[in-house]
């Protein structure tokens, strides 16, 4: 048993995994159904909705449920003291916990990602572009959201509530309503990457080039994980 195995097992346990698996499977199923049954023009609209917007939301929600438990469970169950009573350098504990949350989030969302990919083949958009933009979107969104929620779980006791409020209020309402806030939202950058197949994105995205959006997401991830790694040795347990 290594620290990574421990982290992976603590991420996937419990009933929350069912919810986490059901949502992407449902989205993936709907995408495949639309690919098979909808008319040509409807399929393009559907892909814009599912592949562009819904997929990012699914990644955010799954990232929330899995990420906030990274340190939340350890604290609630009194195992954080055991975890920290080891010689493992504190930043490595954070990185390992983060890696587990990120990997499981990305994998759990694969049914939705792959379903959207199927739907993309049924549209007249460039399939090659759809493939890399979807994979990149799912990787970068999973990476950034996991980082945000792992950091929250380290800093706050009620990380899930605060995380949910952040998604609904900041990412949803503010970023959805105003262009100014859109460029401060993880979801808008992820949607920008997902919108790569369109010359003119049919949904709201951050007002930057695709490459810039990808770089922003990577930077947000790195900075947030670094903040968490900095925070753990200074936390009071």
């Amino acid at each position: 048993m290594t620290l990574l195995e421990l982290s992976l097992r603590s991420v996937v346990r419990g009933k929350r995994v069912i919810a986490v698996v059901l949502l992407p499977v449902l989205v993936g199923f709907v995408a495949v159904m639309l690919a098979v049954t909808a008319g040509a023009s409807d399929r393009s609209d559907a892909y814009a909705t599912l592949g562009g917007e819904l997929l990012v939301l699914v990644l955010a929600l799954v990232g929330l449920v899995l990420g906030v438990n990274a340190f939340g469970d350890e604290r609630d169950e009194g195992t954080l003291g055991l975890l920290l009573a080891t010689t493992v350098p504190r930043p490595r504990i954070v990185l390992t916990k983060y890696a587990a949350a990120f990997a499981v989030t990305w994998i759990a969302c694969l049914p939705a990602t792959l379903g959207c990919l199927w739907l993309a083949t049924a549209t007249d958009l460039s399939f090659g572009t759809a493939v890399w933009s979807l994979l990149l979107t799912s990787l970068l969104a999973a990476a950034a959201y996991s980082a945000v929620f792992v950091l929250l779980s380290l800093v706050l006791r009620r990380a899930i509530l605060v995380g949910l409020a952040y998604l609904v209020l900041w990412e949803g309402l503010l970023a959805g309503a105003t262009t100014a806030f859109r460029n401060l939202s993880v979801g808008a950058y992820a949607s920008r990457v997902a919108a790569a197949p369109w010359d003119d994105p049919p949904f709201d995205v951050a007002d930057v080039a695709v490459g810039v959006a990808a770089v922003v997401l990577v930077l947000v991830t790195v900075a947030t994980v670094a903040a968490a790694a900095w925070r753990l040795p200074r936390a009071h347990v």
Partner: protein, 310 residues
């Protein structure tokens, strides 16, 4: 040689709450008992020694290292944290192996097996911890603290949740660990336990170190200072009146046929009481010191510290 545990002028506060106030001590090899009621600051002290938080003032050193800055100290330190925390989805063996491995033990499988047998968890070793009783969980937590053969052991209320037979076994285990040259710091809020385990006792009340010494020494310290004596007599009213005139008597109470005397000087009371009784022709039936065991000493220290503080 420097002491394994060094706590110098340590204070710790959280906002307005003072958890520890100017605590200083050095450990000695053997078992040091940390005695205090719940909330006295014992767990805060353990947290500081394990590096889980920084002192607001003062310095903490474990084996010469600052535990907050240097997690490598955990290779030589065993910790039984407060509470019952364990990963419910791991078996006892997985838990102990995992932790031994991450404390630098290369032969962690062998070390875990040995530690599990020391605490008497051989048959249940491969069962998931989720189904364990409180006592069994505590044994796993003990085993993980022993598996890497640490020089220093910190045990926060290790006897909590154990049945009497287990308690006895663990008291013996702690004594044995202390006898083998290790430094063991063990906390409890139950005096009889500390008395049996420790060579030296630190008494913590409301975040302050109020007494320190051998269990007998701590008792003596308290016997010299204030104590309570119950005197059964044929004329409690008269005796109470006479006693109240003495300077060392803080207060007297009358309880049926007895006088309960609180004095600041037990030795003087012992000398005066027969003289007073003889002079006033009062019959002394029984004299029962109430303040003899650590328990009452502790209770009184707690009461006086409460009165003084907060």
């Amino acid at each position: 040689m420097t002491a394994a545990l060094e706590v110098r002028n340590v204070s710790k506060w959280f906002g307005d709450t003072v958890a520890l106030s100017d605590v200083s001590f050095e450990s000695s090899p053997g078992v040091v008992g940390l005695l205090g009621h719940n909330g006295a600051g014992k767990s805060t002290l353990f947290g500081l020694l394990a590096g889980f938080s920084s002192p607001s003032q003062g310095t903490v050193r474990v084996l010469g290292l600052d535990p907050r800055d240097d997690p490598s100290v955990h290779a030589r330190m065993g910790l039984v944290p407060d509470g019952e925390g364990l990963w419910p989805f791991l078996t006892a063996r997985q838990t102990v192996e995992l932790l031994a491995r991450h404390r630098g033990v290369t032969a962690y499988e062998k070390a875990a097996a040995a530690a599990l047998s020391t605490v008497g968890l051989v048959e249940a070793a491969d069962r998931k911890v989720a189904g364990f009783s409180k006592g069994m969980r505590q044994r796993v937590r003990l085993a993980q603290a022993l598996a890497h053969d640490p020089e220093v052991l910190l045990m926060d209320e290790p006897l909590n949740g154990l049945d009497p037979a287990q308690r006895r076994a663990d008291v013996d285990l702690v004594r044995e660990l202390g006898g083998s040259g290790r430094t063991v710091l063990v906390s409890s809020h139950i005096l009889a336990e500390v008395e049996r385990m420790a060579d030296r006792v630190l008494v913590v009340v409301n975040g302050r170190l109020v007494a320190e010494g051998t269990p007998a020494g701590v008792q003596e310290l308290l016997a010299q200072s204030a104590r309570t004596v119950r005197v059964e007599t044929d004329d409690p009213r008269k005796l109470a009146g006479l006693l109240l005139r003495e300077a060392h008597v803080d207060s007297v109470g009358i309880d049926e046929h007895a006088v309960v005397v609180h004095t600041s000087d037990g030795a003087q009371l012992a000398v005066q009481l027969p003289q007073l009784a003889a002079k006033a022709r009062i019959l002394l039936l029984r004299v029962i010191p109430i303040g003899e065991d650590l328990e009452s000493v502790f209770t009184r220290l707690t009461a006086s510290a409460r009165g003084a503080g907060r």
